[in-house]
Symmetry: C2
Subunit: 233 residues, 2 copies
């Protein structure tokens, strides 16, 4: 039990980061949720992040603005790059196939911002809801990336020069779970997935049902044998 | 010679990053200069960055907005934290003494943004003008930090999943040079230091002469036996 210790949790408002936040909370951390408006076109996820932060009673929720689109174009940030739809799940998971929805260096940037806040707060635990099974094409969702960032974090900050034994931990509890396993854990922890948002190509904040994020989420609820609370258009 | 290859160069507009940019240019790189308005109070350095990018004829200069002050307070971003002045140089360089001007995780964030742009451009070289001698109190100016970021960068991006032999290099050419050595190299490469800005506490874009950055810069010109072109108030 780590009651009272602070953790910074990256919260997009999607299914995975919401579950990661619930896990951090269940471990007794005071959770500081960080959401970044990086230019994502599906910015209704930011409203979902607010709903989740409120439902899970975080210690604080911060929204940071960073216009990544011009530096790091992606189907998620640029209207002229198409979000892939109706793909086969095997294709989505195909090793070495980086999808159009990959945003260059996004998770490195998000973790760096989380690290800055953690150092300011005196927090040593960073939570990120990355998952390697569903998106093995994203290089920055792999265990070796998470380990390398943890190594870096301990050199980049006071932890690297102080001799007080405090080490930064980058926690990616979902990294090797299936979507169904993630959902089952979240349900046990009382997560209300109806208030989360995963879709890359929503209309009027409703999910499309056909993008990679929707397909994986749908299959997760089916495999977990849990009714899908998502509202599709 | 790497003529035609692209490099992303972090450019604050100060003496060090300006020299790093000149070095990248002298190696034949097409230079893409990246400047970040992260909430620094001494934002006249942004104007210096524009002057330098223009004088050194970079391929492109981008200015990114990211309000770090609330996440990562520092004497550089918050008016209620004082910029230290009149310190002894030995005190500035004292090991393990992180100064008030340290911005939590700043260089990690800056390199992450440079990495995003590099991946988009197809650049494999990132230049950063960090220096360990002058600021050994900054954990993110040390060689082990630079090496760890390079390691991370090669896992975080396409370079980590592609098998084409391309590796990202994080270049910190000044990291173990004295300020005088940096200035001598820059002068040889034709750098005009009069258009750069280093001061943490300027008034009307003129240098204070008394903050750590001014003291180190002044001493550098003295030690290099080069007239100091800085305008002090």
């Amino acid at each position: 039990m780590t009651s009272g210790n602070k953790a910074v949790v990256l919260l997009s408002g999607g299914l995975d980061s919401t579950t990661a936040l619930a896990i951090a909370g269940s471990e007794g951390f005071a959770c500081y949720a960080l959401t970044v408006r990086y230019g994502q076109l599906h910015d209704c996820e930011l409203e979902a992040a607010k709903r989740v932060a409120s439902a899970q009673r975080v210690a604080e929720h911060r929204l940071i603005e960073l216009e990544l689109g011009p530096l790091a174009p992606s189907a998620l940030t640029n209207r002229d790059i198409e979000v892939p739809k109706h793909r086969h799940l095997a294709e989505i998971a195909a090793e070495g196939n980086v999808p159009a929805t990959y945003v260059p260096a996004r998770n490195t940037i998000l973790l760096s911002l989380a690290l800055a806040w953690a150092e300011t707060l005196g927090a040593y635990d960073l939570f990120i809801g990355v998952n390697v099974l569903d998106a093995s094409g994203y290089p920055d969702c792999r265990p070796e990336f998470v380990r390398a960032f943890e190594e870096l974090a301990n050199l980049a900050t006071h932890a690297g020069v102080n001799d007080d034994g405090n080490r930064i931990r980058v926690r990616a509890p979902l990294i090797e779970w299936t979507k169904a396993e993630i959902i089952r854990v979240g349900i046990k922890l009382g997560v209300d997935y109806a208030i989360t948002h995963s879709c890359y190509a929503p209309e009027a904040a409703l999910a499309c049902g056909d993008c990679d994020a929707c397909l994986l989420r749908k299959k997760g609820f089916t495999d977990a044998n849990v009714p899908d609370p998502t509202r599709y258009f």
